[in-house]
């Protein structure tokens, strides 16, 4: 399934996501035609079980899809919709073939059968049909809230992608269910971090490719940029981080597999590698491109600005690094290597500090 997903998605995005489209979306457009294609192709619901209207795809299958969204800077909440539908499926709720929002952080409270409060940083909050959130600490419940009943405060991340606040006042969810065994109340935070690490992997591949191509074409001081040792070294370092992020993110998806439980250890490692790789590679890509990469038309900055935005979303470098560090220290040095080889350690240990 994975190969089919990958090739279909790559073709679809390569055909439709142009720098012009991305710019028009930053200016406020919602590319309905492209979203309809994604709905028709079944990607929006792919992560839900077949019995609930999805394709039963595992996270391992979906890794190249999310990575491709990053590589092409898709200006639509497809990764978020995949996650939302996966969670609906785990909770036994019907998949929704529509743009869905997710809110990992909120002030939501359940009062009887209605919820009130604010969802923070909802990707494309202004455009989605419903938003998915988890409410309650002791007995967490997944709720699906109609966007039409919310008031929206528009915000954007550094790349101009909508990250809105949705305010609900005594609104009845259109669906809700308690979380099943193994599904963390943090699932949207963990899942969001996992998605962003895969998108970062894709965008890093894109800027490496652009930089390599540009260095081969651009002539300075009578020879191609690519022939300067300093440029070669920068591209080599970019390649190293790009490879590291790609494989760390893939491991996070593979460890999640089809189970309800996401793997916090592998996700933390991937998100940290992605945040760090972004810092190294985005700066180098701009250094290689020079001024041209700063123009509003250039695809480079569409990728780098998203990388800068994504690395702060669902926990920045220190958030995830500190969780890893606290967990390892709490377990002592003898916990480290077994955790590395098992790709697993209980990160809730990290909450003690």
């Amino acid at each position: 399934m994975r190969e089919l997903f990958e090739s279909t998605m790559e073709r679809l995005l390569a055909d439709h996501v142009t720098p012009e489209l991305v710019n028009s979306c930053e200016a406020g457009q919602w590319p309905q035609a492209l979203w309809s294609l994604l709905e028709e192709s079944g990607f929006a619901v792919a992560a839900a079980p077949e019995a609930l209207g999805g394709a039963g795809a595992s996270w391992e299958d979906l890794y190249p899809v999310v990575r491709a969204c990053g590589r092409h800077t898709l200006p639509l909440p497809l990764p978020e919709t995949l996650l939302a539908n996966a969670l609906l499926g785990h909770c036994g709720l019907e998949a929704r073939n529509e743009p869905l929002g997710i809110a990992a952080r909120s002030t939501l409270k359940l009062e009887g059968s209605r919820v009130s409060g604010t969802l923070h940083d909802v990707p494309w909050g202004r455009n989605v049909h419903h938003a998915v959130a988890i409410v309650g600490d002791a007995n967490p419940v997944l709720v699906v809230l109609p966007r039409s009943r919310a008031t929206c405060t528009e915000r954007a991340n550094v790349a101009g992608e909508p990250r809105d606040e949705l305010h609900f006042d005594a609104v009845a969810p259109v669906a809700s269910a308690g979380l099943p065994q193994g599904l963390s109340g943090e699932a949207l935070w963990l899942g969001g971090a996992m998605l962003r690490s895969a998108q970062a992997a894709g965008a890093l591949e894109a800027i490496l490719q652009m930089s390599t191509t540009y260095a081969g074409e651009r002539v300075q001081f009578g020879k191609p940029l690519a022939s300067f040792q300093a440029i070669q070294h920068q591209l080599a370092v970019m390649a190293q981080h790009t490879g590291c992020v790609a494989v760390a993110a893939e491991a996070a998806f593979a460890e999640a597999g089809n189970s309800t439980e996401l793997n916090a250890w592998a996700i933390a490692a991937a998100k940290v590698c992605a945040a760090e790789g972004t810092g190294v590679a985005a700066g180098m890509a701009h250094a290689v491109h020079g001024a041209i990469g700063f123009t509003h038309e250039h695809a480079l900055q569409q990728a780098t600005r998203r990388l800068w935005g994504w690395r702060s979303e669902f926990g920045n470098l220190s958030h995830w690094a500190q969780r890893l560090g606290r967990a390892v220290c709490a377990g002592g040095s003898t916990s480290l290597w077994p955790a590395v080889t098992a790709n697993r350690l209980d990160l809730t240990l990290g909450e003690i500090a």
Binding site: N157, G293, R311, S318
Partner: protein, 385 residues
């Protein structure tokens, strides 16, 4: 070991005395200015503010009095400039005129040019941009193709054709000082170039803004289509443009603007971390402060050398390269040590300033010489090439 002899220098007391005056003025003048605009110091143009600085005698400070200047010496000028930048004052309108064009015209210009341009620069009314880069030239200035040829008609002078690009502030400057070819096409790469003062309102000049990644318009393309240049627009000697520009660049590489570009973000970060930062925040903020202290001492050292008439190209390049690394590190660290994403169009001051500087920062290593150029200069200074 003498190649990089940085020496500690105290700013003389009479220059220090200016500091409180400037601070008091800025505290009042900028009190309504939101942090997001302070982040944009270099890019923020405010002609009224520039004229006010002119009125107070804080422009053209090092220029002779007979051209409207104040003969105030390099240290007074240093104090004023660092206070303006640290406060995030909107200096962009007059910046290039005050820092580069004025001194260039004083040094290489004719008496007529000095009389024509310097008083307006000192008043904060006359703005310049610098025409260097061209499409396909980038850092490699020797490859430029814009060309002035001797006019054959009665007016004399030259006729200019070609194009400049990435010209900061061309859209509101009255003049450009451009480096163009005047020699024959077979000349060596660095020969046959000259500098001209071009009136950007002249017929045949077209300025087209370039929209940047953050949606702003600071850069421009400037096209020259048979632009007539009078004889007295030539600055310095015909064919000496390369040498003149090279001397100018050394000046450009060691001032406080080479390490203060992200200072507004350091300010919002300090306040966002609060009075009791955690161990990570305290360490990284403290490390940045230490580097700031060190860079300023390096910059003062270069200023002292320049004041003594030396040409500290190596030391100046050290300040610029290390200073740029510092400016670029601030948004990286700010994003890493505080879990607050950069936001556009809302959110806290810090989140917005972070978003602005995150996007601007990569350009800091492009202006005034790329990292490769600077390190090449340093390597040459060390005797490696």
């Amino acid at each position: 070991m003498t190649a990089i002899a940085f020496r500690h220098h105290h700013i003389p007391a009479e220059a220090q005395a200016l500091r409180e005056q400037v601070r008091t003025f800025l505290a009042e003048a900028l009190k309504e200015r939101p942090p997001l605009r302070s982040a944009d110091s270099w890019m923020g143009a405010d002609p009224a503010f520039s004229r006010e600085l002119g009125r107070r005698g804080w422009l053209g400070m090092a220029l002779p009095r007979r051209y409207g200047g104040h003969e105030a010496g390099p240290w007074a000028r240093y104090v004023v400039i660092e206070e303006l930048l640290a406060a995030g004052a909107p200096v962009s309108a007059h910046w290039i005129a005050d820092r580069q064009s004025g001194p260039l015209i004083l040094r290489y210009g004719s008496e007529a040019q000095r009389e024509k341009y310097l008083p307006g620069i000192c008043r904060g009314e006359t703005y310049f941009c610098i025409g260097m880069s061209e499409p396909n030239s980038g850092s490699d200035l020797a490859s430029i193709r814009t060309r002035a040829v001797r006019s054959t008609d009665a007016k004399g002078g030259w006729v200019l054709n070609g194009q400049k690009i990435w010209t900061t502030n061309a859209h509101y400057s009255q003049y450009m000082i451009a480096l163009v070819r005047t020699g024959d096409k077979t000349a060596a790469r660095h020969e046959g170039m000259s500098q001209f003062i071009i009136d950007l309102q002249a017929p045949g000049v077209t300025v087209r803004p370039i929209r940047d990644l953050a949606g702003g318009e600071h850069f421009n393309e400037v096209f020259f289509d048979n632009v007539h240049l009078d004889q007295d627009t030539l600055v310095g000697a015909e064919g000496q443009g390369w040498e003149q520009v090279t001397a100018e660049l050394a000046f450009e590489r060691s001032g406080p603007e080479r390490f203060l570009s992200s200072i507004a973000l350091l300010h919002t970060l300090i306040d966002a971390c609060g009075r009791r930062p955690d161990a990570l925040q305290a360490k990284e903020i403290g490390r940045l402060v230490a580097r700031l202290v060190g860079l300023r001492q390096m910059s003062l050292s270069v200023t002292a050398e320049l004041a003594a008439g030396a040409n500290p190209a190596l030391a100046a390049s050290c300040v610029k390269d290390l200073g740029t690394a510092f400016e670029q590190e601030i948004p990286e660290l700010a994003q890493a040590v505080l879990d607050e994403p950069p936001v556009v169009g809302g959110g806290s001051d810090h989140a917005q300033v972070l978003a602005a500087l995150m996007q601007m920062a990569p350009s800091f290593s492009l202006r005034g010489g790329t990292r490769e150029i600077l390190r090449g200069i340093i390597a040459r200074g060390l005797g490696l090439r």
